[in-house]
Symmetry: C2
Subunit: 390 residues, 2 copies
């Protein structure tokens, strides 16, 4: 009954879109398959299936195979997807590098390249020009016409207006209200979609990495930035304005450390890289976070204390996230777990203490499997999703 209130779900364009996606999904998962089998499975009329299959073949996404059905009666032509029918570009913009990858319609990463570039030190237009020329060069190298490219997907840290393609705020990149999608689209002529990097990252982990087979997964990122994302049955959970999962400014100590945002006790002031470096530098003149991990591995007490305290606060955060989201899997990603994988054992120990007992066996904590590649893969997949959304 509840559904009866969403007129949007009955909107004819939405239904048409749903049906086209459904036909494509049925072909992808049951290929090779005939039109009449698709009709039977989806309950759609032969006319509608025929029209949609024509659209998909005209768009080069689906092809007729040389196979015919093996059943009795008139032999039917079998359909399959066309891996080279469409490509997508996935881009991962981070503080000091940009990674650009090319993905085919079967969601395989064909090639990728990494550019050393610090967006904060450049004019936004320089960054745009660099990305656009790199995309063009990549396609030329591979001999792929831009007509075959469904679009560009970009994952980037910050508050992203997914609908409008605007970076509302990114301290990492130094952008505010920047229409990233439109600018890239203007320069490349390719449809561009942008999203928060962690939302794209969990899509990558869901499709290709640590979250495969789990359908209620949280990703927690701990590094220079703190954030999280949630995927439910393959759908990225966005919240009302694509800002669900903004972990860094959850209050963990109501009267605690002052944060750059002006509030007290924000989580990031206890566990992000600059917080850990700040603590460490009270004791030792270290330059970068790897030296702190090295000191922990040498069992230096001050370093152990800093990481143990961070692990405690991450465990408290896991409790708080698990209480609200009730996931079956928690993926940990970011510089902390990449540089100091042992943290998972420390977390286990703290979770025993600080996770509410009824939830203690309801989820697993694992490390990201794709590390650097997950954002490129997720961003490419996001762009490919647009292939049928014309």
């Amino acid at each position: 009954m509840s559904e009866s209130k969403h007129t949007v779900k009955q909107d004819q364009e939405v239904i048409k879109q749903h049906n086209k996606q459904l036909v494509l999904d049925v072909i992808r998962t049951r290929r090779p398959i005939s039109r009449s089998e698709i009709s039977k499975i989806t309950e759609m009329s032969a006319t509608s299936v025929g029209r949609i299959v024509s659209e998909l073949t005209d768009e080069g996404l689906v092809r007729e195979t040389s196979l015919t059905s093996s059943g009795v009666g008139r032999k039917a032509v079998m359909l399959d997807i066309e891996p080279s029918g469409r490509y997508a570009i996935g881009i991962d913009i981070q503080k000091k590098r940009i990674v650009i990858g090319l993905m085919d319609f079967a969601e395989r990463l064909i090639t990728s390249k990494e550019l050393k570039h610090t967006s904060q030190e450049a004019q936004a237009e320089e960054t745009i020009a660099l990305m656009a020329s790199s995309v063009t060069a990549l396609l030329e190298e591979q001999g792929i016409s831009s007509a075959k490219v469904a679009g560009i997907g970009i994952g980037t840290p910050g508050v992203i207006d997914y609908e409008r393609g605007v970076v509302q705020f990114s301290s990492t990149l130094g952008w505010r209200d920047f229409p990233l999608a439109m600018r890239i689209q203007e320069k490349t002529g390719l449809r561009t979609v942008i999203d928060n990097d962690l939302k794209v990252k969990i899509l990558g982990e869901y499709l290709f990495g640590a979250a495969q087979g789990s359908d209620k997964t949280v990703l927690i990122n701990v590094g220079t930035g703190i954030g999280s994302s949630l995927i439910i049955n393959g759908d990225i959970f966005r919240g009302g304005s694509n800002s669900a999962g903004e972990l860094g400014h959850m209050t963990i100590h109501p009267h605690g450390n002052l944060c750059e945002c002006g509030k007290r006790g924000c989580l990031q002031t206890y566990i992000d890289e600059s917080a850990l470096l700040g603590e460490a530098r009270k004791v030792s003149a270290i330059r970068e976070i790897g030296e702190l991990f090295a000191a922990v591995r040498r069992n230096e007490e001050w370093a152990v204390e800093i990481i143990d305290r961070a692990a405690f606060h991450i465990a408290v955060t896991i409790n708080n996230i698990v209480c609200l989201y009730n996931p079956d899997t928690v993926i940990l990603s970011g510089d902390l777990v990449e540089g100091f994988g042992e943290i998972l054992e420390w977390l286990d120990r703290h979770c025993e203490q600080v996770v509410w007992e009824p939830f203690r066996d309801s989820f697993q904590v694992i490390a990201s499997r794709l590390h650097g590649r997950s954002i490129v893969l997720g961003a490419g997949a996001l762009a490919l999703q647009q292939a049928t959304h014309n």
Copy 2:
């Protein structure tokens, strides 16, 4: 593309169920409507639409009207839903009372009755017998045959295994691993679905109350129990084991008050009714929470301090929930807001301080509109949803 990995979405039974629900939804929202219009809107074949409409009329959910279409060509028979075609029972079990309501297929509450009953002081079987006999009596009074009842929906506090119909743990009712749905079903012969009371409550607010028109709504309940629920586009967000929203044991002060669960700093130790009473009784021999509210209204400093501190902690919680869920609406329900509605203004003031700035204008905080009735309404609607899920 992400959808291609869920074989469940392409499962034929799921598609059939989706299509049946879709046809019913189209009839509900566009009635009166002809079969051919349904076919056009849904892109389903005339055969499939005809079959589904036959099923729905056989089940008494849909009827042919005396109207015919006004367009050119052959006159088509128009279809409408049948309000008396199906009924549902909604039950709200709380600490000291049980409310039972009767809802028709148009989701109108026909009648309801309240029973004074403290489940914790009774044998579980007495509570079951009382509910079952009351349901039977209510149907007899209204002259409704049980064949016309889609089922019973029950909302109850605690950790509920929605899939299996088991109350895993409810301190309010004193039940643990109690197969509530099965026992009620055995006694009444009616299909029974149970859910956590706040999940049902937000469904009620979404369909009939404060959350109408909002599609990313959080409900926060503050009273004898602390909890929350989330509804997204009309779907209750359940998490992996129907335990999403377990607010009471989120850690708000990592080294704070000891909780009955054994952890330190759980939210409920700062804002639930027993926490407020505990504080108040250090100063004044009050018996119940209303006396604390009265003292605040008399501007007694100690009472103002207690409620102000609670409001601060609720505001911090709103920040934490908004950071994770990013809702457009936060509904406050429970004894605190019902007994002391002024708390909303106090919350406004604290939210100015403790909600992360980018989120400050992204949501509204409002009071529950249905109060006592929302659980009965939501539970009835949940039971009605089963009408087509045979």
